[in-house]
Symmetry: C2
């Protein structure tokens, strides 16, 4: 029997590669995105088109308004997105683009959907090498979430709760890109920028754009990103 996997999709480079990996492993994939009030709404269109391209069995966008409490440059218009390396560093390692408890909330909802589907796998494209320093992208967080999840659900207490997969966690951005290209990812369809415009064009200046650009350079691959200028 083909096993099912819920794959978190943000429309970006990492989660799209993650979906390609889950498909390549032979799982029946279910795409899950969140309309959480993010600035960069073009990512939802990117997520849907990559989900369709890889033939997911179902794709859901769950609205969860994290602007209700804000606290991040991505969910509060009063906090600007930093546009240089210096600005990000002022924050002492965790930049203002950090969204409080975001991956905890997303994984919790994925856990619920996985239980209803009977899915034994959840894929999340977190990366702890070329990343913004968010605490909820580190392996120790994912491990603790896994332990908690087994206790949280009916499936978990019955011994068939989902396994959380983080296939990108130790890869450089360049290695992620090289792997994705082998698996047929079209990175031109993905959007990573924290403040992409309505047409999905990237600013080229934010932390996410810089990491992405550095990845294409490192992989010695032409950068297919559409920039605003």
């Amino acid at each position: 029997m083909i096993e099912k996997a819920v794959v978190l999709l943000s429309g970006g480079l990492d989660s799209t590669t993650c979906l390609a990996i889950a498909k390549q492993k032979g799982y029946e994939c279910y795409g899950l995105s969140f309309d959480y009030g993010q600035r960069h709404r073009a990512e939802l269109r990117a997520a849907e088109s990559t989900a369709q391209r890889f033939g997911v069995s179902d794709y859901k966008v769950i609205p969860i308004n994290l602007r209700a409490f804000g606290g991040s440059a991505l969910t509060d218009d009063n906090i600007p997105v930093p546009e240089s390396e210096e600005l990000a560093e002022v924050e002492g390692g965790i930049p203002v683009t950090y969204v409080p408890a975001r991956n905890t909330i997303f994984l919790a909802i994925a856990l619920g959907w996985a239980e209803v589907l009977g899915a034994q796998h959840i894929f999340i494209g977190v990366n702890a090498v070329d990343y913004s320093g968010y605490p909820d992208c580190r392996p120790e967080f994912i491990d603790a979430f896994q332990t908690m999840a087994h206790l949280a659900t009916k499936a978990g207490t019955e011994g068939h709760g989902p396994v959380f997969h983080t296939p990108l966690i130790d890869l450089s951005k360049a290695d992620i890109i090289k792997l994705g290209l082998k698996l047929g990812v079209d990175y031109g369809l993905t959007t990573s920028c924290y403040q992409a415009d309505d047409e999905g064009r990237a600013c080229g200046l934010c932390d996410s754009c810089r990491l992405r650009r550095k990845g294409f350079e490192g992989a010695c691959v032409a950068d297919p990103t559409r920039y605003v200028s």
Copy 2:
């Protein structure tokens, strides 16, 4: 300095008692409820009125549509709410009113709000004595969530993440009621029924109604619940 506490409020007997306890401990309280597509929507009105009565500094209702994936008698109209003890037992300990990952999702969102507020406490009225057998009401689940939460957030990694309080976890329903009455809870304002009508009247037949009724009997206190018949 007065410390802040986020208190999860369902409008029921347990969470209202929990709020009374947090207030009595001297915390500045922030009430949090969820409009998750539950059948028993009267509970949201009950939650708001108990929040106001205890003078919370802020009260939020976060919409999170768990009907998007269903899987529970509370979020899927095709699964009826069992109305006798026998029906619940058929399910082998965890009844069909169990909502997949509900407390995981609710605590995750509370964790995010707590971080933005700078709150050092989160109160949840889970109880593992007179309860429906839900896995996410047990102390081992809360402990694992606490461990995960310290790794999930910026506040946690900096050593000032919130502590999760479960003051009711070892109490019988009768003892919860006796404690709440001492702290000024008006249980007539609370709604516990899984299928309360629009006016907040209880069915008297579901698991939650039976546990609540037994609690008032055990506490030797008149039951203020309004029943449909």
